[in-house]
Assembly symmetry: C2
Homo-oligomer: 183 residues x 2
Amino acid sequence: MSRSARPSTREEILAAASRLFAAAGFKGTSLQDIAGAVGCSKAALLYHFDGKDAILAELLAPAVEAFRALDARLAALDDEAVRPAAVEGYVDLVLRFRREVTVLYGDIPELLQRPAFAGVHELTERLREALTGRSRTPQACAAALLVLGGVPVACMEQPDVDAGELREVLVRSAARALDVPGS
Amino acid sequence: MSRSARPSTREEILAAASRLFAAAGFKGTSLQDIAGAVGCSKAALLYHFDGKDAILAELLAPAVEAFRALDARLAALDDEAVRPAAVEGYVDLVLRFRREVTVLYGDIPELLQRPAFAGVHELTERLREALTGRSRTPQACAAALLVLGGVPVACMEQPDVDAGELREVLVRSAARALDVPGS
DNA sequence: CCGAAACCTGTCCGATCGGTCAGACCCTGA
DNA sequence: TCAGGGTCTGACCGATCGGACAGGTTTCGG
């Protein structure tokens, strides 16, 4: 009786939910969608899990725990050593839990497909090329995406900071990340 | 076109929708919520706009148009001049349309409040401090948020790139953005 | 003063959501 | 053989969603 020989329904549910949450977001995925992907009834999901939130919680538990472990590791370092360790640790964390992180942003793609955002995708694509100086090296692409995704977050999270000051520091940081000459 | 003597119902709807969309996301805001904030009936919204999507479209139209203008401006530049212009143009664009950009990420905060993400907010806060070396200068904070928001996007948008390679280039770009010594 | 257009409301609709429930179908150990 | 726990289903529920519709009220030009 090896418990992990065949994929149990429970594991199939988690796998399907992970895929669907990452593709269409948490809100954008209904229990019916998951049940359809697994090939069982919606009631079967709710037999194995105490609701939709419980599925999400179990799916993200390893990622959250790893985040907590990183936090504990960084807390033991002094102010000098903490910065490079935080950078490497964060990048590693995100890369290790790519799928889980994608769940967080999963609702955005569907939003971008609405008529209000018609053409924005192509604009973003060209902006990404402009940020790399129309180069295609992995280094340039990754840096461009870092700026593309980071600037809005930096602006959103600091709504009270003066726009002029924010502009100056963000342009400088972004240019450094991109290795733009003269920065 | 209506003359803007006092705020018309139509303008009140747009203002309330902008506020609510940014706070709770597009999906997270119902027509009933908007109507309640404005102080009118749900049917009144649908008299002034052809559905929920139309409200979003009108709300974001100026931002999309500005994005398009930036795209046209960048297209006329050569590969050398385009990079610094793209950086400044993008930062300016996002800062000018902070509210509109926030709508895109609006669904995330509510998601983060679910039990699955219990404690993650505090972890993120401490990680931000670690990335700045526990400093509080605006430059360091903005750079940390740029990295915090940019790394997941860079990982998500390049799912096929080898993790090891992505790790190396992201660590380097992030460290440069943060101005970490020895990068 | 009147009729039409603009504005707004209450009410209703079909669809879909997350979730509940009684019962049926196994498989297994006594 | 039968009892019982684990598994799963179909039917159903209340709530909420975006939206449609008929009709009432206000405003305004002729």
